[in-house]
């Protein structure tokens, strides 16, 4: 009798420990960020952020400035970026974007070295993520500030570019608000 009792007990333990569903459960579909990025984007607004002032909590006018029309005859709105699956094409026009990114056709992929942000992205929540672009052998990382606006009637995308000096120190940050065409 004891043997039967112990066998049954062991069987139940094994049953609870070893049994698991064949696939992990899921609550709805993952957001397809690739699909959301695909399209033609034009710059609507550009802000420049003084990183030193930001660190020191200086007043807004000394920290973040709208530079959309800062340089005469060089409108940022001339800049156009066309994203397809794996390829990116840029047109600079008269915009000052030439000091950030090359003009032409190249490739892009997700920045994948940030596990937390990847997890956030898969969950479809706002995340600081980004894409690596390569156009004419120039690599530029564009960070995504937020996905807010990506599902608007006219989708908007908030990209950031951080300028470093030749020693690798952060100098300034640019925030670009782009609208899907």
């Amino acid at each position: 009798m004891k043997i039967i009792k112990y066998s049954l007990f062991a069987f139940l333990i094994i049953l609870f420990i070893k049994c698991s569903p064949d696939e992990n459960g899921t609550f709805g579909e993952k957001t397809d960020r690739n699909a959301q990025l695909i399209g033609t984007w034009k710059i609507e607004k550009v802000y420049q952020i003084d990183l030193d002032a930001e660190k020191k909590n200086f007043p807004g006018f000394a920290t973040k400035v709208d530079i959309t029309n800062a340089i005469s005859n060089m409108p940022f709105s001339d800049f156009e970026m066309d994203i397809t699956a794996g390829t990116i094409t840029t047109k600079l026009g008269m915009s000052p974007m030439g000091s950030i990114i090359n003009e032409g056709e190249g490739t892009w992929d997700w920045i994948t070295n940030d596990e937390v942000n990847n997890a956030n992205q898969e969950l479809g929540i706002n995340a600081s993520k980004g894409i690596n672009t390569n156009i004419n052998n120039m690599n530029v990382a564009l960070l995504i500030t937020t996905y807010d606006g990506i599902t608007n009637a006219t989708p908007t995308l908030s990209l950031q570019y951080k300028r470093t000096d030749s020693k690798g120190n952060n100098v300034v940050r640019y925030e670009y608000i782009l609208a899907k065409q």
Partner: protein, 263 residues
């Protein structure tokens, strides 16, 4: 009765003369991002929270701020060696940056509190002194420091630091008091003269527009002074503002050192 009076006198003497440690910094006006700061604690008349003198004791600092606790603290019952004050004399102790904490080094208060990315978030720094065990401790005390302060100026650039490839706004604050040249108050149109240091022949004069508190215009130095940049000589700009309608009326001169871009 005599004994009672003596005890009362000793009690009042303790209360009257007991003080917090006197904290002084070198340099005197340090911020939380300044390196090589040394704090000196004068404990001549300082006592712990039991009224016992700190003179000559082995002292450790347990530091905290509104943003975070010091990374050099460790656990309350196992304080780190990095938190031990340097004993200069029985009454004088120092905390000297950089602080070595195992494999880590804290060059500033901001790094010690782990908020080097946002040092402006530190608005107060507190501490107490104790021994290693601890068998005694002081009350919570305060370490003074200089807050970050935005200094208004007649002329400035935005951003304050830039590479040759960045957009650089040159700004003139006509409302600044006192203006270096009061005659500029009457100027309706204001221009800016920008000159690469060491190459005055390449200078340009640009019109500004009024934008909020500033008359300003933007340039990208590597484009405005392309030839000099190509030669690798574009390292600093000087600039001043002037009345477009009367160029002899000029502002004070400003300058900015341009960094080389990482790409």
């Amino acid at each position: 009765m005599k004994k009672l009076i003596t005890y009362i006198c000793i009690f009042y003497a303790t209360v009257i003369f007991a003080q917090d440690p006197l904290v002084t910094g070198t340099p005197s006006n340090y911020t939380v991002i300044d390196e090589n700061v040394t704090l000196t604690f004068d404990v001549t008349n300082a006592t712990d929270n039991g009224g016992n003198s700190l003179v000559g004791k082995d002292l450790y600092i347990w530091a905290f701020s509104n943003a975070a606790d010091s990374k050099a603290n460790g656990d309350w019952t196992n304080i780190k060696a990095a938190a031990r004050l340097n004993k200069i004399s029985d009454t004088e102790y120092t905390l000297k940056f950089p602080i070595t904490d195992g494999a880590e080094t804290y060059n500033t208060f901001a790094e010690m509190f782990g908020v080097e990315a946002a040092p402006g978030s530190i608005t107060s720094i507190g501490y107490l002194l104790r021994d290693q065990a601890p068998t005694f401790q002081t009350d919570d005390l305060t370490i003074p420091f200089s807050p970050f302060k935005f200094d208004a100026a007649e002329v400035r650039t935005f951003p304050s630091s830039a590479t040759t490839k960045d957009i650089l706004l040159l700004r003139f604050n006509k409302s600044f008091t006192p203006l270096s040249n009061p005659a500029l108050t009457g100027a309706e149109n204001i221009s800016v003269h920008v000159e690469p240091v060491g190459n005055s022949t390449s200078a340009v004069d640009l019109k500004t527009i009024k934008n909020g508190r500033y008359f300003e215009t933007g340039i990208i130095p590597s484009i405005t002074f392309e030839t000099i940049d190509t030669m690798g000589d574009l390292k600093e700009l000087k600039y001043y503002f002037f009345d477009t309608d009367n160029p002899s009326i000029k502002s004070v001169e400003g300058s900015i050192i341009l960094k080389k871009s990482g790409i």
